[in-house]
Each structure stands twice: as structure tokens, then as C-alpha cells.
Symmetry: C2
Subunit: 123 residues, 2 copies
DNA sequence: CTGTATCCTTGTTGATACTG
DNA sequence: CAGTATCAACAAGGATACAG
């Protein structure tokens, strides 16, 4: 399994403007990070650079609570914990794909509309 | 065109638990209200019972800014204003449908996972 | 009828520091 | 390594009253 691309969620990417959100702010991104297989806490922090451990832990708890991910702790030193998508969690991949498809097709028009609106507002 | 069903967004409906959101809290519901054609401000307030005029106005401004709806004011007494989906706004209907489809299929499992989680937490 | 103006509560996100 | 504790900042959402 490939390591996660540190730039997979570039904040400069207009996808951060998408009006469609899964769960809380980071939920959708975490799910995307888990599509290829289980990941460790610190692995998830790589692409999610701007998330603090506190918020990432909260996000993972919420996903666990809703049955989207499982948490597996191994009794080792140093500790190792792995998060993995459940079958229910995988069902989210389909609507997420639909939303990403929408964004790739229509986000440019949205951005253009915003520009037009702003220039009208300042006029 | 049919009047909007006052109960189309029953707060008791589990769809309010859906982890998928379009725009801000009310954005997706407004878009759904506009699918059949243009609606007036006060018409929208019927199914969206719990929204204050301030928040509905903000929601509509945001949708207008992003190019999803148009606002048409008629110079009459009393004033009449109509909101209508743009072609860009209609493109949102597809991912919204995908999300609703997901919810109708998987929300029960989510709710069940929550119950199981809570009973474990309290144990 | 269609909003705006104010004020306020609350929830969410984050910074920083610390622990098993 | 994988978190938790504490505090702070901010923005979303809402209550209420009023205006064009």
C-alpha cells in the first residue's frame, strides 16, 4: 500500500470551496485516506497537515461512533493503532465520488459566479 | 405547481442525522424546495418552519452569490420576490439525489451503530 | 411582504502543553 | 506513538424587534 501523498489535500485547491461536506470538517478527507486500507494515527496526520491531534481524535471518534471506521489498538511498545473503513464506511465512497465528480465539473462555474457577484457588490 | 408540503422536512425524520451536507445548514433544503420552479420568500418559510427570516435571507444570498439561484424582485405593492434555480444550481440535484439515496439505504445502519456505541460507552 | 438590525448563545475548530 | 487537558477564538445559527 502506498504512503499517503502529503499534498493530497492542498489547501490552495479549490475543492476546499466545495459546498458539499461529509460529516464534520475533516470526516470526508479521513475516509478518503482510508480507502486503500488501514492507516495509523500518525499516517493520517501527514496529508491532514493542518489538523491538530485533538481534532483528529475527535473526528475519528465520531466516525467510529457512526460505524464508519474501526479502531484497533495493538498492545505494543511503542503503541500502534490502526483505523480502517467498515463496509458501512465504504458505502460512503459512492456519494463522495458523486460529489467529487460534481466539483470537478462545476466548481469553476461557482468560482466565476462568485467573482461576478463580488465585482457587482463593490460597484 | 403544487404548494410546498409544510412537513417536507420533518425534524423528527432521521434524514436530519445524515452526515452529508450541501452548503450551510439550510442550503440543501432550499434547493430542494426550488426544484419544481420559482418560489417566493414566504413560500420557502412554510416547509422551513424553524428558519428565521434573517437566516433564510443569508442562505439565499449565499446561494445567489455562488450562482445557484437567481433573485427577481417585482416592483409591486406589496413586494414580491421570486427565487429560482439556475442551470448551475440544477447540477446540484444529481449529487443531492446520490446523497439521499445513500441516506435511505444506510441511515438505519448508522443509527444502529450509534446505539451500540452508546450502550458500550455507558457500560 | 420581504427583508434588516442587534444582540446573544452555542458549537466547532484550533493552539499549546502535557501524559501513558 | 497516540493521544488528553485546558483554554481561546471564531463563526454559525438563532431570538427579537423593527423598517421600506
Amino acid at each position: 500500500m502506498q504512503p499517503l501523498d502529503p499534498d493530497m489535500f492542498d489547501p490552495a485547491c479549490p475543492s476546499s470551496v466545495s459546498p458539499i461536506r461529509i460529516g464534520d470538517k475533516w470526516g470526508g478527507m479521513v475516509i478518503l485516506c482510508l480507502t486503500q486500507g488501514p492507516r495509523r494515527f500518525s499516517e493520517l496526520r501527514v496529508p491532514l497537515r493542518r489538523v491538530t491531534p485533538k481534532v483528529l481524535a475527535e473526528t475519528l471518534r465520531a466516525l467510529e461512533r457512526d460505524g464508519f471506521v474501526t479502531r484497533t489498538a495493538y498492545a505494543e511498545i511503542p503503541p500502534r493503532v490502526e483505523y480502517e473503513l467498515t463496509p458501512l464506511g465504504r458505502t460512503l465512497l459512492e456519494p463522495i465520488a458523486a460529489c467529487r465528480e460534481w466539483a470537478s465539473r462545476n466548481l469553476p462555474a461557482l468560482l466565476q459566479a462568485r467573482e461576478a457577484y463580488e465585482s457587482r457588490a463593490s460597484a
